[in-house]
Amino acid sequence: MLDFPRWKKIFLWAITLVAIAAALPSITSLSGLKWPSSLPDPEVNLGLDLAGGSHILLEADPAEVAATRLEKLEEQVRDALRRNEPRIAIGDISTRGNRLTFMLEDPSMVDAAREAILPFTDGAGTVRDWNIEVVDGSRFILTPTEAGLENAIQTAMESATDVVRRRIDGLGTREPTIIRQGDTRIVVQVPGLGDPEALKELLGKTAALEFKLVVREASQDEVLSGLAAEGQVFPYAESAGLPGGVVVERLGGISGETLTEAQQSFDAQDNSPVVDITFDPDGARKFSRMTTQNTGERFAIILDDEVISAPVMREPIRGGRSQISGGFTVESANQLAIQLQSGALPVALEVVEERTVGPDLGADSIRKGMLAMGVGSLLVVVLMIATYGRFGVYATAALVLNVGMILGIMAVMNTTLTLPGIAGFVLTIGAAVDANVLINERIREERKRGRRVVAAVENGYKEASRAIYDANITNFIAGMLLFLFGSGPIRGFAVVLIIGLFTSVFTAVTLTRMWVAGWLRKKRPSELHV
């Protein structure tokens, strides 16, 4: 029990020193010193609640993905049947109840129609996207399959995550974290962010851009009812400062997907902020055709179903470059440019949770937290030494190494220190000496029962260990549940608690036993002051 062969001692010290060495970069950086860049640098990250920054949880509505998909299907079906040779005429097309129904005018075309729509209902690979059902001889009913819909949501979320990443990169913030969470959520964490509103604004827009020919102005009533026989009605965006909206042609137009570039710049005439855009060859061709065929007329620039501006096409635009103007500020133009450059979100994202901490508060929290931790440790140390003498000194040394080891392991595992994590440290400091208290009290007892010094120490460690392990395992259970259930800062608390359980058993039980054994062997005391 108290026998420590040399290899074991070396091994224990090696573990301790490696863990503490790993903590050094974090300790220097927390105290504001510089760690030489030539050395390896595993560091504990500071959570957003300490470093300052924003945590934003975005959520997509799966129903919306389903609706968009249904709309797209309708378009595909119309298109495919129109292009079919011979053309297949349909009527009574509807997308109610999450399914697409339409009727063939000529029931004998059923097989041809099925053939025509099969390519995009069959889905890619093994998953079938839509079930096709024909009733009454000529009515098609297309219902989404669960697997197909799941697939679609997956794909939409993946590409939404990419878009979000590109948009945040466009902001030029450093080291953002963007992670998908669950089926329909994306977590965005941006350290040291000064203005979370801009970020939310940037991510909260779908940025679906469309250019459509204007039929006429629409009155406010028409905008509200959303109905116009000749086409679709869109309201003016707030920035345009106009009442009502416009009626545009339902078919045709150019979508923002054909953009290759978007940049904020200034209008040559009046120096107002604008967004310069560049189309890809396909888009450029369409844009050129639209502006050539309709010179003198107006086209509407529609962003997320709102009209930004509706300029008159004075001359054909052939180069594939254009400009979007419409009451921008430099910031809003820049934001739109980033959004367009990153592409439209395949599904609208809503901010469902936001947590932002200002950098001043974070620094203040670290200072207060460290101070409290220092004072708390000092009190514990004084109490331990006053109560257990030499054994208290061992416990203190174990405590110091324990804190270092926790930091080191956190650094190696690249975990994050949060504000509740600091509370976790303090709790660990208070609880880590528990093991030593148990052991020392037991040694006292064993002495009282008349055991000899070495036997008392041996028994103290042995008998106390049972309770120590049981207590730590139950704490581990609580800690794991905390980790599984918690998010962000709370996880930081759990991480410190869990790592602290392991290190405190190691330092408070194993290391102190080694020291006590060394002392007993060397001094062979006949009496213990414990």
């Binding site: 932002t356 009190l379 109490l383 509740p420």
Partner: protein, 325 residues
């Protein structure tokens, strides 16, 4: 060197003599706690109720203009805000619950949050915004659900572990002690209407873990003594076990307390709730280890056969029947 002894050697306090009155008091407290939770309710923070919490520091002022803020934010039509000092006199936290008609507002909680911030920025351009938390109703209800599951799972998993390591009576005893601690913590939060947030759940889980430390120490000693003193009546044996471990119980609770006290007194304001809950938990947990977890073993029928393997119990009875004693 004279060493400090907080608990004198060889205490012989008859803790268990008062077990019935203490049980009555504790059961009343548990009932009162749940009664408070039911009637007064918990003061859910934004984590669980949804809504927004903004923290502000008025750097150029001695004191935050709380009444003016109340009028400003209250005037936005999202109901009466909760405004509290938070840290120094010029620091406040403003909490707004999600309005009833949130579904009707485009952008939901986030839109409301933005509007509140915009209004504050317009009125107090020089204020330092230290933090902002906006949680939608859906996320908040998920948090509530997960919190309940986490607490139940922790209590059950720990009770199960104790059952496996000791005997079923000990598992039940630990579970009861935990239920006692959690109930009283909830009761305190309901009584003082302290903000109940995710951090508090973390604190309660920490309490569950650490309250059990003391219980396990006592149980471990009970097990030891059950094997050692086979003929001792159980109440006496429990008293003996509690007395023998008293020094450790007091010391371990004390070290935790003095480590946490500085954090409670001058730690970051946003940790106050967490630390306060854990501090309360230390007191309640220590008490419950002695007065809830131990006496229940008497009623659950723990006896000197408890830690003897089944066969040998039978053997022993046979032996006794044969009069071999």
């Amino acid at each position: 060197m004279k060493l400090l002894k907080l608990v004198p050697d060889d205490t012989n306090i008859r803790f268990l003599r008062w077990r019935v009155p203490f049980y009555v008091v504790s059961l009343i407290l548990i009932a009162a706690s749940w009664g408070l939770v039911m009637t007064k309710g918990l003061n859910y923070g934004v984590d669980f109720a949804g809504g927004q919490e903004v923290r502000l520091t008025f750097e150029q002022r001695e004191e935050a203009p709380i009444p003016a803020l109340r009028d400003l934010v209250g005037g936005l039509g999202y109901g009466e805000p909760t405004i509290q000092r938070f840290g120094d006199a010029n620091q406040v936290s403003i909490r707004i619950r999600l309005p009833e008609n949130i579904e009707a507002i485009e952008g939901g909680a986030n839109a409301v949050g933005n509007e509140v911030i915009a209004a504050i920025d317009a009125e107090y351009p020089n204020v330092r915004r230290d933090g902002n938390e906006t949680v939608s109703g859906k996320v908040a209800s998920e948090f509530r659900e997960k919190a309940v599951y986490a607490l139940l799972a922790a209590m059950l998993a720990i009770a199960l572990y104790i059952w496996v390591r000791f005997e079923w009576q000990f598992g039940v005893g630990a579970l009861f002690a935990l239920f006692h601690d959690v109930s009283l913590a909830l009761g305190m939060f309901a009584l003082f209407q302290m903000e109940f947030s995710l951090q508090i759940i973390a604190a309660i889980l920490a309490i569950i873990g650490y309250s059990l430390n003391d219980t396990i120490v006592v149980y471990d000693r009970i097990r030891e003594n059950l094997k050692k003193y086979r003929k001792m009546p159980l109440p006496e044996l429990l008293d003996r076990s509690v007395n023998e471990t008293l020094a450790r119980t007091v010391m371990t609770s004390l070290t935790l307390l003095i480590a946490l006290l500085p954090l409670l007194l001058f730690g970051p304001a946003s940790l106050f709730g967490l630390v306060a809950a854990i501090t309360l938990g230390i007191f309640v947990g220590t008490y419950s280890s002695v007065y809830m977890a131990a006496p229940i073993l008497i009623w659950l029928g723990v006896n000197s056969n408890s830690f003897v393997p089944e066969e040998s119990v039978a053997d022993r009875q046979e032996r006794l029947a044969r009069g071999e004693a």
